[in-house]
């Protein structure tokens, strides 16, 4: 008596792997259209520049699946970078530990506020975003001070590498695999889906809802900080005025990757595909040459709208299936 309508399965596959398919298609089109696109150098540069967004997007995926949103990641990315550059004068350990502790703390506080007081994630993390950015401006004289990286071991973390790819790329890959296991194969991951899919129901099923939320925001804060750390190592400096609007790019990548903004569904593979997709679009627009980078935002925006519409239709097809 089992019904297995093919339509429903197709729409589920599209939902989960649509970004990957479009990514592959664009890569093929790009290689045919532009000679300089399909070079190892270009591919490496797309991957390297995407890795920082990807790290943040991994954390954001957990947040969005749990039914929340984290607007503070752009600010934390910068915060982490500046603290890393500042800390590097005391050696590699401080350069890593200081920013991670600080960003983790901000994430933890946000998570506690959201989980314990029931305040809206949008509001709490908006406050976090503004607060951290204000703090940045204050300690850097309105962005005039730039902290330079003083430790060469630390700089190598961002600039060194293997086989044409820098260490941050490998770190991202490791994190992505770990995140996948965490999400799909641990109780914590299941709880994240359950909280996002039906919060009151999850509570009745015995899921520790508040704790799950706290962990999710803690993780997002830590990962945003880590991305900032690696970026500071790459640039050998902590620049305070970067990262404005970064949170929106990250959210866009996650949603393009098939994670539902309403929570309860999504995954890491999609997110990575979404990040790379935005990177490829950027690269293709650069190939065209005479288009400004502002144009990239227009394309990304259109693409995002398309994805959201498609998700609604696919979701409908699945429900009716």
């Amino acid at each position: 008596m089992t019904r297995s309508p093919g339509r429903e399965q197709v729409s589920r596959v599209l939902q989960q792997h649509g970004a990957l398919m479009v990514l592959a298609a664009l890569a093929i089109v790009g290689s045919i259209a532009f000679d300089s696109f399909a070079t190892a150098g270009n591919a490496a540069s797309i991957v390297v520049s995407s890795s920082f967004t990807a790290i943040i997007a991994i954390g954001m995926t957990f947040v969005i699946i749990s039914g929340g949103i984290d607007l503070s990641v752009g600010s934390l990315f910068v915060f982490g970078g500046v603290l890393a550059a500042y800390g590097s004068q005391y050696g590699l350990f401080v350069a890593l530990a200081l920013p991670l502790a600080a960003c983790g703390l901000v994430g933890l506080l946000q998570g506690l506020l959201i989980a314990r007081t029931g305040m809206a994630p949008f509001i709490v993390t908006l406050a976090g975003m503004l607060g951290v950015r204000g703090l940045m401006l204050a300690i850097s004289d309105e962005g005039a001070t730039t902290y330079l990286v003083k430790d060469s071991a630390f700089a190598r973390l961002g600039q060194g590498g293997l086989l044409g790819l820098t260490w941050p790329v490998y770190i991202t890959a490791l994190l992505a695999v770990a995140a996948m296991v965490l999400l799909q194969r641990t109780a914590f991951g299941q709880n994240v889906y359950a909280v996002g899919g039906n919060e009151p129901g999850a509570a009745l099923m015995g899921v520790p809802v508040a704790r799950t939320k706290v962990y999710v925001y803690l993780m997002s804060g830590l990962l945003a900080g880590l991305a900032g750390v690696l970026n500071a190592a790459r640039l050998s400096s902590g620049v305070t005025i970067l990262g404005i609007g970064l949170e929106l790019d990250v959210i866009a990548a996650v949603v393009i990757g098939g994670t539902l903004l309403t929570g309860g569904a999504g995954g890491i593979t999609g997110t990575i595909a979404g990040v790379l997709l935005l990177g490829v679009i950027q690269s293709l627009i650069n190939q065209v040459g005479n288009l400004t980078s502002a144009f990239q935002q227009v394309v990304s925006g259109l693409f995002l709208a398309l994805v959201v519409v498609a998700q609604r239709l696919l979701g409908r097809a699945q429900r009716l299936g």
Partner: protein, 516 residues
């Protein structure tokens, strides 16, 4: 069951207040190991609230809980679950987007190497567990793609699989078919043999007499009666629930809603109110033909997954069809459009009310008036007086228990939420009304009232299509019955042939054929 055994769970003088209502007022209840304890009462009597006090969802304002002989206060449902109290809540409380297996195993997934979830084993175990409940399905599918009945079986399997000393079931049969109810009962009997205490809430009295040992009747948050069930006559039980005299109940005919079945009318020349032809949808419907004449109540019978809800959805355009057409009063309806259906006067009370109907944060008044607004307004201006009147009539007739018409619907008890939705559809007075499980979760008193209302509407010339897994309700309410099986109409019963036995026979007959 030994009466002398110490209670495993005991409520002593429990009180619970919500703004404007005293939901529980000094309720005491002792639950013995190995007994099935029925908890009954009208909608809003406080059954679910008591259960939620047992399981740590609500903190009582007064009184105490004794579990295993010592005073206890569970802080969260998780604490209660860990202590061995397992619950199926009134609203199926699972995660619709997660797969069947993950829902079933959430919180106790089998671990493999490195403490990571062993998915292969998880799927295998889930399949095995569900097969024990007669559910054969792809456990990797999202739960929401399955019918309500299957979802409820998953909830049941989940609750029972947890190592429990007390299993609480708040209206577990509301979306189950007779066959699944049998499965449930055998599960309950097994629990009982294992010495587990079961709390059983239901508005279907037959079921209570079949599985329960003792009964506690709640009325307006107080215990009206506790005692062995077998000694309690059915009418007496109803009288206790409603708080009326036994004689009044007996003469009032509250339980038996009987009337003469309308004979098939002279249909030559007349047009059916709605005629659906060859409704087809891959895997679900295989050419279903249904006609409903004005003034007729047509029942749809059949097992779960037979395509009854899908037929109704197909008629109103809520299910995309591969083939088939719907003709309303002689005019073909544009398929796949609910707007067109509503405009033509066809409306559906959906089965899954939570997902498809109720607007939790709006008031009772707004929820009732919502669909009727166009007919209650002139040039876009709504007449408040008319709304008040309709709302008042339905709140009274269906006995909707709310602090006021302005109370948000989400604060009402489960059954009262159902009544609000039912009122919404009855209030719009369409030409054709499709009712999918209209009395699910509604108490005995209001049930008779619903049937009377439906009958009145039919007398006024409305065509009604009635879907109910409660055979008694189908037999009492319908003039004619179509039996569906696997997306096909396999039998039609009318006149004196409309009996529970004949419906069952019609389902079984075909079943034997296709199985053989």
């Amino acid at each position: 069951m030994s009466q002398s055994a110490a209670p495993v769970l005991e409520a002593r003088q429990i009180s619970k207040r919500f703004p404007g209502v005293v939901a529980l007022d000094g309720v005491s209840l002792a639950l013995l190991p190995g007994e099935v304890h029925a908890l009954v009462g009208e909608n809003g009597a406080g059954k679910s609230t008591l259960i939620k006090v047992f399981t740590g969802v609500h903190r009582p304002d007064g009184g105490e809980l004794i579990y295993n002989g010592s005073p206890t206060a569970f802080g969260t449902p998780l604490d209660a679950q860990r202590a061995g109290i397992s619950t199926i809540y009134q609203e199926v409380n699972l995660v619709p987007m997660m797969s069947v297996a993950r829902n079933l195993m959430l919180g106790r997934e089998p671990r493999g190497r490195l403490g990571v979830i062993d998915t292969a084993r998880m799927y295998g175990e889930a399949e095995r567990i569900l097969a024990g409940y007669g559910v054969v399905t792809d456990v990797r599918r999202p739960l929401r793609t399955l019918g309500m009945g299957v979802q409820q079986m998953v909830a049941l399997a989940r609750a029972v699989a947890i190592d429990a000393r007390v299993v609480i079931m708040d209206e577990p049969t509301s979306s189950l078919e007779p066959r699944e109810v049998e499965t449930l009962f055998s599960v309950i009997r097994k629990l009982k043999d294992d010495g587990i205490a079961v709390v059983y809430v239901s508005h279907r009295l037959d079921e209570l007499y079949e599985v329960c040992d003792r009964v506690t009747v709640l009325r307006d948050g107080r215990v009206a009666h506790t005692g062995p069930l077998a000694e309690l006559e059915r009418l007496k039980l109803i009288a206790l629930m409603l708080g009326r005299d036994l004689d009044e109940v007996r003469t009032g005919g509250l339980t038996r809603f009987s009337r003469d079945r309308r004979q098939a009318r002279d249909r030559d020349g007349a047009q059916p109110a709605v005629r659906a032809e060859g409704l087809t949808r891959r895997q679900v419907l295989r050419g279903v033909d249904v006609s409903v004449w004005p003034g007729e109540v047509v029942g749809l019978g059949g097992l779960l997954g037979a395509g009854r809800s899908e037929t109704a959805k197909g008629i109103v355009g809520a299910l995309p069809l591969d083939a088939g057409r719907v003709v309303v009063a002689g005019r073909p309806l544009r398929t796949g459009s609910t707007t067109a259906a509503i405009r033509a006067g066809v409306s559906l009370l959906p089965e899954d009310r939570k997902a498809e109907g109720i607007i939790p944060a709006l008031s009772v008044r707004e929820n009732i008036a919502l669909a009727a607004l166009p007919s209650l307004s002139r040039a876009g201006v709504v007449s408040d007086a008319k709304i008040d009147k309709i709302v008042d009539v339905f709140m009274r007739r269906l006995r909707i228990k709310a602090a006021s018409p302005d109370q948000p619907v989400q604060e009402l008890s489960g059954g009262n939420q159902q009544k609000v939705l039912l009122a919404r559809w009855l209030a719009i007075r369409p030409k054709i009304l499709l009712l999918d499980e209209p009395t699910r979760g509604i108490d005995v008193g209001a049930k008779a009232e619903v049937q009377a209302l439906v009958d009145e509407l039919a007398e006024e010339g409305l065509g009604v299509l009635l879907i109910s897994s409660d055979l008694e309700e189908l037999v009492e309410g319908a003039d004619r019955i179509l039996v569906l099986r696997e997306g096909e109409v396999v039998g039609e019963l009318s006149g004196d042939d409309v009996t529970e036995d004949k419906i069952m026979a019609s389902i079984a007959e075909r079943g034997a054929e296709s199985d053989g």
